[in-house]
Every structure is written in structure tokens, then in C-alpha cells.
Point group: C2
Chain length 334, copies 2
């Protein structure tokens, strides 16, 4: 199963919610407290020497914040409260510490593939380093205190971004989640509205943070990911058998659109990328560099695309530029 | 205008209808008379030494006859009466003399591009050669006698296969034909039902064969082709301006389908080829070898495709084989 794992689990993420014990977290940090805390966090992690950058969202080009949001390095919440918000990022963009979000500090570690244990290890070290400089609000019985009670205790949210085309197409994702209901997992579409996901990408994460140890949470998420992964791989086999020539045709035409369309909307792009990736899983399509392929999904979102083009783009111009860029990048890896 | 000519006029054709003066042409030639005449025609043209082949349609694999029909070297009529039918072909398949069609002999010369004068020159020489061995039915006042009165006189039908996407899309083909109505031309779709043409391919030919000299007929067809060609090129400019990004997108996606579909029906193939060719005219797509591209339109018709695959194909297998073959050939010229 190992060789398939990255075909299903695109990336893993661990987030720790923390708050200062000497400052209220009922309201947002103001701009001055926010700036001060961000600077302390930046220092605690070793600053520029250690490869970190401190990004003040209030100053600078607003598009930069939107790009970070599209890369899922910061949240919509932080972007909406950017007057008091900042983020500390490492060069590889695998570490993101948001300051001034719903909680004072949100430590995040993000890595490719099924790497929840590794993500936790990284986040834990960041947590230790910051804790040495910033005293955290901690209660002997409740654990780490958080703005929203759903994060109390460990403040830990472990999640896996899963590519689940076959379960989506068969509409059996909710059955899978029900089957592991005692593990209390939440699953939601990464892109698109509601439970629908335009690229068949879903985020699976723990709902409980209180009453369990960190290891118990990580274990339950791991168990859930493995169960869903297995169900997805079985569904993929079935889909291939049942889909026949019509399904292969759909996959081929999706690639044709990515390589040859003159304009390409975001939703169609996501759908075509998902089918192409599925085609690669089935061996129908060869993708030379999967990392470049995955990054493309982020790069062609509106703000990122505008940054690449170097100028503001109207919607139709954006669709034209997206089509050109997608075709150009894909041709280098196919 | 010269450089555009082949973008509009795909090929030219001249046909001469002839009958033997000592044999009735109210009914079909029987098998024995048919065979005898075919052999005389074959001999008159110089036979194998001169690069000709005599093909007896009654014997041999029926698929061979259908392939010749798809290549437009023989008519549906000859195929339907193959017990008394045969055809003499040259190696390049630019000459086809049908024996036992509606008329005893139909001499055809077919060349790429706008070459009506050259086609007539070839057909005229064939006519002279055959006339030396086979006395033709000829009337001093009426000229050559034919089975159907619409071919009386010269027995000459000169035609041009024209690629008219812009006039078709603008629905202005009938206006063009009306504008040259005094020239008495007929225009019809080469593929597809009725006046619709799936690949925007139309055959323009003279309706009158009587009361005009050969040269007058050739001149009136030439004038008509030039008028329609001019209208088509103007319509193409307009289409490009008015179509904008949506039109370019349609062209790009058509090429994407040709290169990446897993199955491809004939009508969709024709439409996509037409749009791709139009894309090449506009400089949006580069086609390395236009002859290979044009030949593909013939090669992927049912009987020809079956001959290439080397085995009988069910409809879905044929669509899958067509998609694979089209993609493979196009990749060599793009």
C-alpha cells in the first residue's frame, strides 16, 4: 500500500492553538500587541538566521496576504483581522505561525504526503521554543486555554488533505465517515462550496481536542486516514472496472483541456487536474514531477496567478492567462 | 491571395461521362460486358506498365471497395452495382476510371488544391486514349450521349472540394451561391447529411453540361470557386475578430480532443479536425505536414480504419482505435 499512499494523502498538517496567559483572548489583539507578540515569536524561533520571515499583513501589498491564504499558510480569519495579524514563515513554507488569529498564536506544520507524525514533531519543537519566551495560558485540569472551547485541552488539530475522487464519484464518502464515527473525525471539502469539493480534495481532522492525549489524537487521525485511504483505493479499482472506455475518455479529454484550452475557469481547471491525477494513478497518463503538478493547483488561484503575471487581471484575462500558464507548466512535466 | 488558396480549395476533380456507341446504356452492363470493357480501358491506358491497376469489385474483399468509396475514388453507385463494375486506378490515386457505373465509363482526375485546369488536362488525355480503343456514343448536335440527360453534351463535371468553415458558421453559404446563380453551380456537403457538412467541406460543381464548351464550363467553375473563396476569406477575418477568446478556446479544445480523447466518433472527429485546420489558418496551431493532416480525414473513416487495424472492429472499438490512431498521427506532425 505504501506506494499508493501519496496518491491519496496529498499533505498532512498539525496545528496547535495557544494564547498568552497575561493577555485577554476574549477580544482580538490590537495592532500594537499583535506586532509585539509576532516579534517575540519570530525571535523565539531564531529569526532570519534560522530561516524565518516575519510578515506583517497590515502593511505591504494586500495581494501578498491573499497569496498566503491560497497557499493555505494563513487563514481567512487572519486575513480578515490583518490589522493585528502577522505570520512567521520558514523558507520552505512548511512552518507557519499565525499571530492574532482567533487565538493569539497558531502554530502550524505542513508537509507533503502522509506525515502526521512528522508534522507533530515539528510543531512540538516550535511550541517548546515559543513557550520559553511566551508564557501560555494553561489550566491544570483543562490544559491549554483557547478562545473557542472546541480547541481546549491540547489545542491540537491534526489533519490530512486527501484526494478522494472515487469515493466522491460513488457518493460514499459520508458512509466512510459514519463507519468511523466513534473516532469523531470531521471531513470537509478543501475547495468549493459546502461538502462538495471541486478537485475531490477533502480535509480530514479530529474534532476532539479535550480529554485525549496528543498521542491519542494523532493515533485516531492516523487510523481514520488509513481506513478512508483503503476505501478510496478499493473504490478506485471498482471505478476503473465499471467506468470502461467512457471513463478513460473523460480522463483523456480532461488532460486535453488542460493542455489546449485557450481559457480556463478555476472550477473546470480543478476538475480536470483531479481527473488527470487519477489518470496518472491508473497509469493512463505520465506525470513526470508530481510536486510541480500539485503546486500548479495553488499557483493558478486568482491572487497567485496575478502575482505570477505581474499585473492585475480581469476575470477573462485571468482565465486566458491561467490556460496559458497551466499548459506551459504541464508541458514541462509530461 | 495565392498563399491562402489551399486553405480553402482542398482538392479539384474533373469527371467525363462516356458510353459505348454499340451497346445500350439504358440498362447496366452485365458482368461479362463489364469485365470486357474494363479490360479494354485498362489496355487503352497502358495497363500495368503505365502504372495502372485494374480492380474487379465483384471479387476480392468487400471492404476494399468501401475503402475506395471512402477515398472518393469510386461512387456509391458503382459499389451498389459491383457485379458489373470495375475501376482502373493509377498508383498515385489521382486517376480513377469507373466502368459499369450509371454510364459505361466515367473518367476522373483528382488533384490536391485548386487545380481544375490540370485535372481537365489529365482527364482529356485519358479520354483521347480510351476513345482510340472504345468508340463513344456521340451525337452531332447533342454531343456525348449519357444515361441521364443532365450529363449530356460534354459529359463534364468539374468540381472543387472547398473548406468553408466561416461561411458555414455565419450561415451565408446559400447567399454566396445565390450571388453566382447565373453560373448554375451546385454546392453540397461532402460528408454528413443533406446540406450540412460535418467537416465544413463542400463540393462545388457545374450543373450544366450541355450548350457550353468544355472551356466555358471550366471557366464558370473557376470563377465561382474564386468568388466563394474570397467570401470565405472575408468571413474568416470577421469570425476571428468577432469570435474573441471564446472562439480561440473552441479551437484549442478541439485540438485537445483530437490529441487526448480515448474514443472519438466520426462526426466529432470531423468537427475537431475542421476547427484545428482553421486554427492553423489563423496561426494559432502549427501543422507540420498538411497532406498527412488531410489524409487523416479519409484514413479514419470506418472501412479505411478497419483496414489499418487489420481486423473487424465493433463501433466502440472503432471509436477507440480512431482516437488512438488520430492522436498518434497528429503527434508526428505537431
Amino acid at each position: 500500500m505504501g506506494k499508493y499512499r501519496e496518491d491519496v494523502v496529498v499533505s498532512s498538517r498539525v496545528r496547535l492553538a495557544r494564547n498568552m496567559d497575561d493577555t485577554s483572548f476574549k477580544e482580538r489583539l490590537g495592532p500594537s500587541l499583535g506586532k509585539k507578540l509576532a516579534s517575540e515569536v519570530y525571535g523565539a524561533l531564531g529569526g532570519e538566521k534560522a530561516g524565518y520571515a516575519l510578515i506583517d499583513l497590515a502593511s505591504g501589498d494586500p495581494i501578498d496576504g491573499r497569496v498566503l491564504k491560497e497557499k493555505r499558510l494563513i487563514s481567512e480569519d487572519l486575513l480578515a483581522n490583518k490589522h493585528s495579524g502577522a505570520v512567521v514563515l520558514n523558507e520552505e513554507e512548511t512552518v507557519s505561525v499565525m499571530v492574532g488569529e482567533e487565538d493569539h498564536i497558531r502554530i502550524q506544520s505542513i508537509l507533503s504526503g502522509f506525515t502526521i507524525a512528522e508534522c507533530y514533531e515539528v510543531a512540538n519543537k516550535l511550541d517548546d521554543a515559543i513557550a520559553k519566551k511566551v508564557p501560555f495560558a494553561f489550566h491544570d485540569r483543562l490544559g491549554f486555554l483557547t478562545t473557542c472551547p472546541t480547541n481546549l485541552g491540547t489545542g491540537l488539530r491534526a489533519s490530512a488533505m486527501m484526494f478522494l475522487p472515487a469515493l466522491s464519484i460513488y457518493n460514499s464518502l459520508s458512509d466512510c465517515v459514519n463507519a468511523i464515527s466513534r473516532l469523531n473525525m470531521a471531513i470537509r471539502g478543501v475547495y468549493g462550496e459546502g461538502s462538495e469539493s471541486s478537485g475531490y480534495l477533502y480535509q480530514l481532522s479530529n474534532q476532539l481536542t479535550l480529554g485525549l492525549s496528543e498521542q491519542e489524537i494523532l493515533d485516531s487521525v492516523t487510523t481514520s486516514v488509513l481506513r478512508i485511504e483503503e476505501a478510496e483505493l478499493q473504490a478506485r479499482d471498482l471505478l476503473f472496472k465499471e467506468g470502461g472506455a467512457g471513463f478513460k475518455d473523460k480522463i483523456g479529454r480532461a488532460l486535453g483541456i488542460l493542455l489546449h484550452a485557450y481559457k480556463l475557469e478555476s472550477a473546470e481547471f480543478m476538475q480536470a487536474m483531479a481527473l488527470t491525477k487519477l489518470g496518472a494513478y491508473y497509469g493512463l497518463i505520465t506525470i513526470g514531477d508530481m510536486q510541480v503538478f500539485e503546486r500548479l493547483m495553488i499557483d493558478v488561484q486568482p491572487a497567485s496567478l496575478q502575482t505570477i503575471s505581474g499585473k492585475p487581471l480581469k476575470p477573462e484575462e485571468r482565465d486566458i492567462f491561467r490556460a496559458k500558464y497551466v499548459s506551459q507548466i504541464l508541458k514541462t512535466i509530461m
